[in-house]
Amino acid sequence: MTTLTKVLLRASNKYTELGYNRHMPKSYVERVTQAVPRRVYDNRFGAPAITRWRLHPDDVEHGEFRPWEQKAVNNTLTKVRDYHKHKLMQKYHQRGLPQQRIPDELWTMLKGDLVQVMIGKDKGKKGKIAYIVKERNWVFVEGLHMKRTISDDLERMKKMGVQQFPSLREQPLDVAKGEVMLVDPKDEQPCEAEWVLNEDQSDYIRVSKESGVEIPIPSIAFQTYEYNDPKTYREVELKDTSVELTLERTYKPSLSTFEEDISKEQGIDERRTLKPTYWY
């Protein structure tokens, strides 16, 4: 993992990428949530291709778990099996609703932010964000808006003979409905925030719409699956390339193709040319 230099970060909206799954390849998350095509039937003489999904992206269930965790995977695999069975038996399958998620450019809640709960028993209380589920516009605040619930893996506990005790668990708060709002650092009142360019025009900062004061980004917001703080990341010896080597520029533009460059380097001297052919 490399820390990007200032040159690469200039005036680009990198704040949209902030999140725990930031460095997880999108294809991996799709594969794990099974939101990938099982087969694409193409070559239909111009008619649009038919996609047969493993699990349609609208049917994917997002919740208080990372997509690659075992709990999520088990849930989706049963859905995938049912969907395939329904299709083979030509039965009707009701699709889920598309996700009405807030676009990344307008998302202002980050992990570790001070927010105020606007509904329920803890209305008016302030707390820090512990967990975010962007796909459902959910935010879990530490220690607030809790409910007495029994843990999810009931069957496993029963098998092991462990008695079920209800515990307090945080419930999700919807940002789109205004159930939770950021706290303005000036007057400590709930406010809405937006991303604007700073004075140098070099980076984006969060600014409260009411007072215009900057809301600083907490350091834990940069936490990902790989590291808690990008500065503390240690490169893996035989797998990662160091920052210096990665950003070292060795490219010299020249009037030769990639293949010609490599042939020259390897000492392949090919004088023969392709004979003319017809394309139809």
Partner: protein
């Protein structure tokens, strides 16, 4: 993954893959043996991960490889560096595929499968950079990129699509290929097909919109961002 450190070691003989074998099998065997009849194992160990990772459900944080190469980072590198990196990534991919299959056969969890996707992303980005550079040169020198030539064809059902041309050694008059026009007059069947298709697609969109409205009204939830419609596929 960034793996430039293994340049010198891995890339001595990475030239073209020939279609005709260079040596007969017996001659090839004699190259690999010494006077003591010891056959080298070559680089077969590069098919496997380090023994520390065996039997684990998830690698410890200090052993997890980093993110993939981005296009911006790859654009800084020369052709030679990119060529070497390609083979480092290729071998890593083979190693991960081997390990994944071994864990699958033993019905165990393969640790950190996102490594495969990261290597694939790096390789795709590398190929994109190489194509970008070659296209730029071709367009400068010849006015066209060396991509496979295509033509727009209208099928018998009335749909237009981009068809890739095939390379032939004989000229076209020697092959009986039916005439394909870009925008021909559609016959009755094709004309009706197009009209009915458009109608069907319109009804699909209309039904999906109604379905969305029906289900959201039932939910009584406030729709804040309703740009997306239910897809009809």
């Amino acid at each position: 993954m960034h793996k430039l450190h293994r340049f010198a070691r891995c890339c001595r003989q990475l030239s073209a893959m020939r279609r005709v074998p260079l040596l007969s099998t017996n001659e090839a065997c004699s190259l690999h043996t010494s006077a003591v009849m010891q056959v080298s194992k070559g680089r077969i160990d590069e098919f496997f991960d380090s023994a520390d990772s065996f039997g684990k459900n998830e690698l410890p944080v200090k052993d997890r490889p980093g993110r993939s190469w981005s296009v911006a980072e790859l654009r800084l590198k020369s052709s030679s560096d990119l060529h070497k990196l390609w083979y480092v990534l290729l071998k890593e991919r083979n190693m991960l595929l081997t390990m994944e299959q071994a864990y699958k056969d033993a019905i165990r969890v393969f640790p950190n499968p996102e490594r495969l996707d990261r290597v694939k992303d790096s390789m795709d980005n590398l190929e994109a950079v190489v194509r970008e550079r070659n296209n730029a040169l071709m367009e400068l020198e010849y006015g066209e990129s060396g991509a496979t030539p295509t033509k727009t064809v209208t099928s018998f059902m009335g749909f237009k699509y981009e068809k890739e041309l095939q390379e032939h050694i004989e000229p076209p008059h020697m092959h009986a290929v039916g005439k394909e026009y870009e925008t021909p007059y559609l016959d009755d069947d094709a004309h009706m097909m197009q009209k009915l298709w458009e109608e069907k697609e319109w009804w699909k969109r209309r039904n999906m919109a109604e379905e969305l409205g029906r289900r959201t009204r039932k939910d009584r939830s406030k729709i804040v961002y309703s740009e997306r419609q239910l897809r009809s596929d």
